[in-house]
Subunit: 419 residues, 2 copies
Amino acid sequence: MTTLDEDLEDAAAGSDQRHPGLRRARAWLSRSVEPGTVDLWRYVDHLGPVVAVQRLRSGAAPDALRSLVGARAQQDATLADFQRAERCGARLVIPEDDEWPFLQLHALTLAVADEPADRRNQSDRTKAPVPPLALWVRGPGRLDELADRSVAVVGSRASTAYGEHVAAELGHQLGERGWTVVSGGAFGIDAAAHRGALAAEAPTVAVLSCGVDRPYPAAHGALFHRIAETGLLVSEWPPGSAPLRHRFLVRNRLIAALTRGTVVVEAAARSGALATARRAQDLGRSVLVVPGPVTSAMSVGCHELLRDEQLGARLVASAAHVIDAVGSIGADLADPAPRPESVRDGLSDLATRVLDACPVRIGVSPERLAAVAGCDVLEVLRVLPALELADLVQWTGTGWRVTPPPKEPRSGRRPGVAS
Amino acid sequence: MTTLDEDLEDAAAGSDQRHPGLRRARAWLSRSVEPGTVDLWRYVDHLGPVVAVQRLRSGAAPDALRSLVGARAQQDATLADFQRAERCGARLVIPEDDEWPFLQLHALTLAVADEPADRRNQSDRTKAPVPPLALWVRGPGRLDELADRSVAVVGSRASTAYGEHVAAELGHQLGERGWTVVSGGAFGIDAAAHRGALAAEAPTVAVLSCGVDRPYPAAHGALFHRIAETGLLVSEWPPGSAPLRHRFLVRNRLIAALTRGTVVVEAAARSGALATARRAQDLGRSVLVVPGPVTSAMSVGCHELLRDEQLGARLVASAAHVIDAVGSIGADLADPAPRPESVRDGLSDLATRVLDACPVRIGVSPERLAAVAGCDVLEVLRVLPALELADLVQWTGTGWRVTPPPKEPRSGRRPGVAS
């Protein structure tokens, strides 16, 4: 078995974009460096992964970069990682692969170019828009294809029954209409969204902040298993990695970048979902927010997002609204809210007044109608035929009255009363 | 007792702005013409109420205007109306009075000037922005003062317990902070808003589409009685008038105009509250909308208002948000949603990684921390003192670990887990 350094040397000597050394170099990076570091990504982008890893291991890389790798520089767990991945049916997808979601991640590539050169002025690592160096994926789905028509559905872990219901409905309806639901696999909204998509027999993608072989939380073992059967588990961290707290924040940029828009279903005043929403906006993605009762602490964050005029978040109340926002023009369209029609809508002002003047039970004369409606008798006589034709008034033999409603209840309003 | 025509003649001869004939002319208009008619308002504005009424009664007015008065031209119920008003403690407020809410209604005066001269191109009477010719008011409040710092709270009659709770809370908190709640006195949201204001012992104003002596709905008799004790019942229609359907729509422009903003609490897809909101926007008032569960039909209209980008409606979740939108700059300010603070917020990326690397129970060496955190031992030794000072890590005698939480439960999160 070749050592990492031998493999790297061999890869560096040739120009084979499929050389195993290339994949091994990226695997090594995925374990040795925390993702989200602007300078490290630039170093790898500039030199290529093989030479970058050689220099990081040999000590030839700049001090600032070597300190990022620190004590891990001399270690090599790549073969063990590949074996662990194979055991759970996972694989490493790298930018050199066709499956790499190049179009989606391009927003990160553009954004990282705007980061200043001086490390002290760069975004904090948990917020920096840095493309991933490699992605461990587990499941039958093709990452680029699943990401093409995808929406992130995120929200609070401490969700309410309302939030979970809405997330599951959204997941189900988006799945039914051929959209991939991307989320983080956490308790609460994430899980409800994944489950809704699975219930529609649609593939769904969980982007994790730990290894794809030991997804967190452990209580979601069965859920992750189902996701891995039809969709994908995705992670920047190698198999076996633990879900450290700061990794959740770093991971969030991937959820935002991989999707066309982020739907926040429930979020307290201080919630990771809000950070994901702001990242989505930074990357030019739609920020979509589901409102809730103003009496619910779990919707406070959602409402703050909607109140933030600079953010430009959009309120969504259904999957149709979501698709309306992220869909392609022409291909996807939301219907406006259904409005019951009323025959009164077409009436002139005068006809409305005459109709309102008609009593409900005993018929009255046109003269009486004119006095109540405040118009001439001739005008009353002019509009009565039209009202009768529309079945709104009837002649009782002695006078005019409102046509009584049919015996079976219908969804109309009481005449003469509205707000 | 003088007849109306004698009184008018006497008023026309003098130039007394307080002449009883002037008030009587406006009382006659309030019974003889449905409000909201552009041409009639212009006629009265141009000739003054006394001459306008004389010409309408004598037949000297243009045909188009005479037809508006129709069969009512020869009738005169002004003295009976004044008597009825007096019996219930009501009075007629006219534009010539100091109490007239001139500043608030100025928006209507400006808007009516934009209506075209040709009647066929004018707005429908139920939508036309026409100032009232006179207002019957009942209660101890002064109309102009109550309208000065006022907010309309409107919504569905078929409200839910959620909507009524929110409307009552808004009414109460707005009342407590010295704001007048204006609404329509209808079932549901209107009534809840009035009741909330009354519970705060604040005056509230009900703008009615029927006479102030027989407010509709009759089931709200006790509520109207309480409103009339501390605030005001207001109507364009004389005592005894019935709440005809089209009058609700005409009335809505007054609710929008008299207030600084309109809050829609609950509204179905087709609701009169939506019309009031759009009228408020047309008059340059704030349109404020309370969201609700997307699963509630009674919030569909609210969400459609918030989704309408041209409308520019603002989401509000509390009275503070409302006051923030309609209050004077400097005098009224809403606090941002409270965010629990975390000591982790101030940590550097490196310190966060070292903290996350610390185990919860058994202490470990700085070398081990460096390997897990992916940095140099020297860096670990550099950040540990700050973490210890912040009481985030502690030295066990053999190694470093996370400081255990105090015995009593506190509102923190589990370390190492976030979404």
